[in-house]
């Protein structure tokens, strides 16, 4: 199977391509990227995608997406959520370890890979648990997890309370060359909080999560990273102060990266309005000052990736008094649109926006995708930058309709998604490549 994507505006931050090019694909690999008109006549495509007026970029890589809700009765599956992923232009997504069962043995990874082979439209990667059953007591068999293919190690939303265990886990991960993914949460300060501690928690009488619930954890972990020399990645930071601290660590040369979610870049605590449970998320939506700090941190490269932190929930999960609802946002299908909105809003340059979804997360994960160059896997996203459409939660392909961005107007819409040289999504239709 030979595929040609012609006349597209190719943007690939990894190879610094930004212009009209044809992309030639044979089987699962990119064969060549050539300026328009210079196409090799030896290449006879079986299929041509006319990408005139469209942007072609590497397939998006999402650092964190959960494929099911917290209970099994919720309808999300690997199939439903990867369909949503490819609709959003995502070709690789990374599953955090707090699945059920927890990803703490090679068997669970094999199971996910098996299921993925049967029904996933996108590529799946897994982050393993750093402690057994993410309980924070005993180290997991990290080397075995690494051999089984996990791209990093994490305790997900159950951060280690014991600093000694955190230190040892980091030392062990450092010795086998695994990146530690950190959700920076100081549990005793987060306690039963459900919103940012500030004027909104005060007005609504909701238990607050102070900024220090994040910054104290970041400070502690940065010191342990320095001590242990482990490669570390901070997942979805939410405070401006955390950005400042990570910047200092990076200046010192520590191997530290960070990502942020689109919702923390676009929303703030006041968006909760009168207890809008769709805005119930962990870490919480913070102040406008924090949001500006995150945008600034992204622009200056301190935060290098944007991840959806996708969590599909059924309607019941959001039906109740705010604190009783389940936190989480269904974010796969809005990841690209919300990131590109930062470009439209002149918050982020176009190249950098694409990089934050492609080569930068690829580098954090140490994988060979996220770039458009000869020999690279043919994972691509083609989108129309001049589309105009409204975000309609009811029409999302994810089983989770839980998005706070309903009725937002977007201008960038995915037209094609290609995984390993196969078109898995085209103009509104997902196409399974499974028999």
């Amino acid at each position: 199977m030979k595929l040609k994507i012609s006349n597209g505006h190719v943007i690939d931050p990894a190879s610094q391509i930004d212009g009209l090019h044809d992309i030639l694909i044979a089987e699962d690999k990119i064969v060549a990227v050539v300026p328009i008109g210079a196409t090799n006549t030896d290449f006879v495509p079986d299929q041509i995608i006319d990408a005139s007026d469209l942007i072609v970029c590497p397939g998006l890589i999402d650092l964190c997406a959960r494929l099911h809700g917290p209970s099994q009765k919720q309808g999300a599956t690997i199939a439903s959520e990867t369909v949503a992923a490819v609709k959003g232009g995502i070709t690789t997504l990374c599953i955090p370890p707090d699945t059920s069962p927890v990803i703490d043995t090679p068997a669970v990874i094999e199971y996910i890979e098996d299921q993925g082979e049967k029904s996933a439209l996108s590529k799946l990667l897994v982050v393993g648990a750093i402690t057994q059953n993410i309980e924070g007591n005993l180290l997991s068999e990290m080397a075995a997890l690494k051999d089984a293919g996990c791209v990093g190690i994490s305790n997900a939303l159950a951060p280690l309370k014991n600093s000694l265990i955190q230190q040892r886990a980091m030392e062990y991960a450092a010795s086998i060359g695994l990146t530690v993914f950190i959700n920076a949460i100081e549990s005793s300060l987060q306690a039963k909080g459900c919103v940012h501690e500030g004027s909104i928690s005060t007005r609504l009488g909701l238990a607050g999560i102070p900024e220090t619930a994040e910054t104290i954890a970041v400070a502690r972990d940065l010191l342990l990273i320095e001590q242990t020399g482990v490669c570390a990645h901070f997942c979805h930071i939410s405070t401006s102060r955390a950005v400042e601290m990570i910047a200092i660590a990076q200046q010192k040369g520590l191997p530290v990266t960070a990502d942020v979610t689109p919702h923390h870049l676009h929303l703030a605590e006041h968006d909760i309005g009168n207890y809008d449970a769709l805005c119930h998320v962990i870490p919480p939506l913070r102040s406008i000052r924090d949001r500006e700090g995150l945008q600034q941190g992204l622009r200056s490269g301190i935060i290098s990736a944007i991840s959806s932190d996708h969590r599909p929930l059924d309607d019941d999960a959001k039906l109740g008094p705010f604190a009783e609802t389940i936190p989480g946002i269904s974010g796969l299908e809005t990841l690209l649109s919300l990131t590109m909105k930062l470009v439209d809003d002149e918050i982020l340059p176009l190249q950098q926006a694409i990089a934050s979804l492609t080569i930068n997360p690829a580098n954090i994960l140490g994988i060979d995708t996220g770039r458009i160059s000869a020999g690279a896997p043919a994972d691509l996203c083609i989108f129309n930058p001049n589309a105009h459409y409204e975000c309609e939660p009811d029409k999302t392909l994810s089983a989770g309709k839980n998005t706070p961005f309903g009725s937002w107007l977007f201008t960038n819409e995915v037209s094609h998604t290609i995984v390993n040289g196969k078109i898995v999504y085209q103009q509104g239709v997902a196409q399974s490549n499974h028999p």
Binding site: E197, G198, T202, Y275
Partner: protein
């Protein structure tokens, strides 16, 4: 957006003071003034809500609030059912909604709701059938608007002109739905100065965003105030390191006659009840000449009659209007 009001700006639900305008609060007090005379008649009933079914839906324990709501409903000639539903039985919103829809199916007209979660009344109001009014009888740490209005009514009876007043609220502001609603009501009625007096552990983040002056020292905070409102201190606050002991709290923030003497000579003392004697207030102050604590309870009935009749009136108007 204020979903408490009908299209014509009348009170349909009563969920929070926030967003309500001064004339509406005044209307509630004026209406309560009319109802309070009924309590002194031989027959303490008016037929305003005859044939209406009011459901007291208490997901959290209460004696005083529940009883005064019941009495208020009965004096308006409504049929009243009281359901005490332990929150453990309805731990998730799903079954909470099921409970509501069941009660709706019994042709209820009004829900009086108390719940331990902030925003519960708002949530219920968003999901009930349009002909039902929801009155918030306290939701978590968020709001207790009828308590705030009976407090305003009591203050007005003693002090007339709100803009001239300086009012201090003492105690656990952080966890107090009463304080939040009082502060909003006082601000809406244009009170000259609102003070809160508490240690930082009992204050919410950014308390100044509520429009109050913050004092940590009670002697300073009570200087020349016209009204002292003391709040109940829950015993469980000693857990979680919010306070060292009830004794130390009383020493620093308990209202004694000596401290009360720092306020204006004609200052009144209020408390939403139930009182912890010797914790937030000394017995001789609670029972003393400046205390209006029992009056508050009495006024609770008239104020709740006012709110219920206004909400049912607005509902009737809404149902009749072609839109």
């Amino acid at each position: 957006m204020n979903n408490q009001l009908t299209d014509s700006g009348r009170l349909r639900h009563f969920l929070t003071i926030e967003g309500l305008k001064q004339p509406l609060l005044t209307e509630i007090m004026d209406r309560a003034e009319q109802f309070s005379s009924i309590s002194h008649q031989q027959v303490k009933k008016v037929p305003l809500l005859r044939g209406k079914t009011i459901v007291n839906l208490f997901f959290e324990n209460s004696t005083r609030t529940r009883t005064t709501f019941e009495l208020a409903a009965k004096r308006l000639s409504a049929d009243v059912i009281t359901l005490n539903i332990s929150t453990s039985a309805t731990s998730k919103g799903e079954s909470l909604l099921d409970t509501l829809h069941n009660l709706e199916a019994m042709h209820s007209d009004m829900f009086i709701v108390r719940h331990s979660e902030s925003g519960a009344a708002e949530f219920i109001a968003q999901h009930v059938a349009p002909h039902i009014s929801v009155i918030n009888a306290g939701d978590g740490c968020h709001a207790h608007p009828t308590q705030a209005m009976l407090d305003m009514f009591t203050i007005r009876r003693h002090k007339q002109h709100f803009p001239d007043l300086c009012i201090a609220i003492v105690g656990d502001i952080l966890h107090s739905r009463v304080a939040r609603s009082q502060i909003q009501a006082l601000a809406t009625l244009g009170v000259g100065e609102i003070r809160v007096i508490a240690p930082k552990t009992l204050l919410p983040a950014d308390p100044r965003t509520l429009g109050v002056h913050v004092f940590h020292d009670m002697d300073e905070g009570l200087q020349d105030v016209d009204v002292v409102i003391t709040l109940r201190l829950q015993n469980e606050r000693m857990q979680g390191a919010l306070l060292p002991s009830a004794r130390e709290y009383f020493h620093n923030y308990g209202l004694t006659q000596e401290k009360l003497n720092l306020a204006k000579p004609d200052a009144i003392v209020m408390h939403p009840g139930p009182i912890n004697r010797g914790v937030e207030i000394a017995s001789n102050v609670a029972d003393g000449p400046q205390s209006v604590i029992l009056e508050q309870v009495t006024h609770g009935i008239a104020v709740r009659m006012a709110v219920m009749s206004m909400a049912m009136g607005a509902q009737a108007e809404q149902q009749e209007s072609p839109a």
